[in-house]
């Protein structure tokens, strides 16, 4: 049933792309696809080795600036590493952290939200919601920062930490959806017919909360990428030699007065990625879930 529903969602999206065509959504879809392809193919398409330090080619500006060369289209950093190649590699980390941490947060959030909503008003619901309140009372970035103290910084840590600290918003969303679906006739009649709780949650409730959940998760990937970049910028996220956009920005900060390009391009990369995912998410919402309000906040 869930698989059918997902398949059905895909069909809705497919026909939605045709009926509900949105230029911004299409731009988002294409941009995200390009970034994903670049990230996957990175080792084969980068013009230079992104890790290779080259003292003779330090701080070369982009090609359109005086002293720039077509050899390094976007210039080189303070260690002579090619910026374009590093940007392409940086995308791998951002996307990986974005997708996987939302996967973790989403699964936890979906699970707790289903339980909390199904047992709405009982002590289980109360307990979960107080937990959600406590989590939401601390800025995610702060929670992540504290958790970083406990574990060694790295890609796996970051995925786990962002995932484990950002599930509360999904729980709240799913709970709200469940509360309204629960009152619908088909759920009521299944209950009357004696269907078990697990059956009702799996077969009747879950499929009906999925579309809002998918939409909010998509936007969540953008937020996770932003969190990862902030942490790497602060030097607490993914550590060198692993390449991240946030880390590149941090490198470029000290050279901002003389070599603006080092910090400028990674910031552009983050902005473009987040924008593209946002466009895609907005479009998905229009297609999948027209009733969900803009901004993704379907609290009650």
């Amino acid at each position: 049933m869930v698989q059918n529903k997902i398949l059905q969602s895909f069909r809705t999206v497919r026909s939605g792309i045709i009926q509900n065509s949105s230029p911004l959504g299409l731009i988002g879809l294409i941009t995200v696809s390009v970034i994903i392809i670049l990230a996957i193919l990175a080792p084969w398409i980068v013009p230079h080795d992104p890790f290779k330090i080259d003292a003779t080619n330090r701080l070369i500006p982009p090609f359109w600036v005086v002293d720039g060369s077509m050899n390094h289209i976007l210039g080189t950093d303070h260690l002579g590493r090619d910026i374009l190649s590093r940007l392409i590699y940086g995308g791998r980390v951002s996307l990986l952290v974005g997708f996987l941490s939302v996967l973790i947060a989403g699964v936890i959030g979906l699970f707790l939200g289903l339980i909390s909503g199904y047992f709405g008003g009982t002590w289980i619901d109360q307990f979960i919601m107080r937990f959600v309140d406590a989590m939401l009372a601390i800025p995610t970035l702060l929670l992540v920062l504290v958790a970083i103290v406990v574990f060694e910084p790295g890609i796996v840590t970051l995925i786990l930490v962002i995932g484990l600290t950002s599930w509360a918003q999904y729980t709240r969303l799913v709970r709200g959806e469940v509360l309204s679906v629960k009152e619908r006739e088909f759920v009521q009649s299944a209950t009357t017919l004696g269907a078990s709780k697990g059956y009702i949650i799996r077969k009747h409730i879950l499929p009906n909360v999925l579309s809002s959940f998918i939409v909010v998760s998509t936007i969540g990937i953008a937020t996770a990428i932003m969190t990862e970049s902030s942490l790497s910028f602060l030097g607490l996220g993914i550590q060198p030699p692993d390449i991240t956009w946030g880390g590149m920005l941090n490198d470029g900060r000290n050279y901002i007065a003389t070599s603006w390009w080092i910090a400028t391009f990674p910031g552009l990369a983050i902005t473009i990625t987040v924008l593209a995912i946002t466009f895609l998410g907005d479009w998905l919402r229009d297609i999948l879930d027209p009733k969900l309000k803009k901004g993704g906040d379907a609290d009650e």
């Binding site: 601390i138 504290v146 007065a257 910031g267 924008l275």
Partner: protein, 304 residues
């Protein structure tokens, strides 16, 4: 005010859970013995210190001791500064709060006129431009905005100082940097809210009475459309403080963000947990106030 009483009661379990979360983190992360003793300390020294700190007690006993000292205002001592952690955090808190409030003010000043303008000129080029700017404003990482502002306004044209917090001019770049995302979010909301209010019957009535459009907007639309905006300002507060941590780093702003980062680098758990707790309490209070203000602004909302 039974509503107030009930919300205050609901806050208590959240706060208790918060202390459990923080304590659990400190319990897993903290090794106060190693950080307090010199590196060449013997294992007997360690054992004696651990015993005297109560670290050999079971988890729940330690938790209740921790809770008891917190209730009495004792948040532990920073080993790095050798001073009470709460004192250190409260010293730095005003700088962060001022920065956040300035950012909020800037966001309000930018977003309300832009949002109203976009709504009144709906589906025109102006609307498109404003919406476009606000979408991009939300997608840019704040640390990048900060660095770009430094590049253009402090390095190339030297209008503002690069970092520090000595004069009013020092406020402009950090507060603007921090306010951009909030301004973007609020612009979208003001626009949507104005569009909704404009359709209301009382606005239509005012129009059909032949009232001037400017009066209709200022008297009937303006204040009513701001009600949902109050909520978003309140709800965005934790994100604003989270952003402040990063923005303070970019501009060397002497607030709790930088205190926190130093504490993280040196594993100064007393400071870390105090900051988390203080910010959480602030968030809870702001949320409560938001609810109350919302209620005062819109008497139609009943809590029962």
């Amino acid at each position: 005010m039974s509503y107030l009483k009930r919300s205050l009661l609901q806050v208590i379990p959240s706060l208790l859970l918060l202390t459990v979360i923080i304590f659990a983190l400190v319990y897993v992360a903290g090794d106060p013995v190693s950080s307090m003793l010199p590196e060449n300390a013997t294992s007997e020294d360690r054992e004696i210190l651990a015993e005297s700190l109560g670290l050999n007690e079971p988890f729940y006993v330690q938790y209740f001791q921790y809770l008891r000292s917190m209730v009495t205002g004792d948040f532990g001592t920073s080993y790095q500064y050798q001073r009470p952690a709460l004192e250190l955090v409260l010293e730095r808190l005003p700088a962060t709060l001022t920065l956040s409030l300035m950012a909020m003010l800037i966001a309000i000043i930018i977003s309300i006129p832009l949002g109203i303008l976009a709504a009144l000129k709906r589906n025109t080029f102006v609307d498109f431009l404003v919406s476009g700017i606000s979408i991009v404003g939300k997608a840019m990482p704040n640390f990048w905005i900060g660095i770009m502002l430094i590049l253009f306004l402090a390095v190339q044209i030297q209008i503002f100082p690069v970092s520090g917090a000595d004069t009013p001019a020092h406020f402009v770049l950090p507060a603007f940097t921090l306010g951009v995302a909030l301004a973007a979010e609020m612009t979208r909301l003001v626009r949507a809210s104005v569009l909704e209010v404009i359709e209301e019957e009382y606005v239509q009535t005012a129009r059909s009475k032949g009232q001037k459009e400017s009066i209709v907007i200022s008297k009937h639309v303006f204040l009513n459309s701001l009600i949902p905006v109050v909520t978003i300002v309140g709800l965005q507060f934790p994100q604003l403080i989270g952003g402040a941590i990063v923005v303070e780093t970019v501009f060397a702003w002497p607030g709790i963000g930088r205190l926190l980062l130093t504490a993280i680098e040196t594993s100064d758990m007393a400071i870390i947990q105090t900051i988390v707790f203080v910010i959480a309490i602030f968030t809870i209070v702001v949320n409560l106030l938001t609810d109350l203000v919302y209620r005062v602004l819109d008497p139609r909302i009943k809590y029962n």
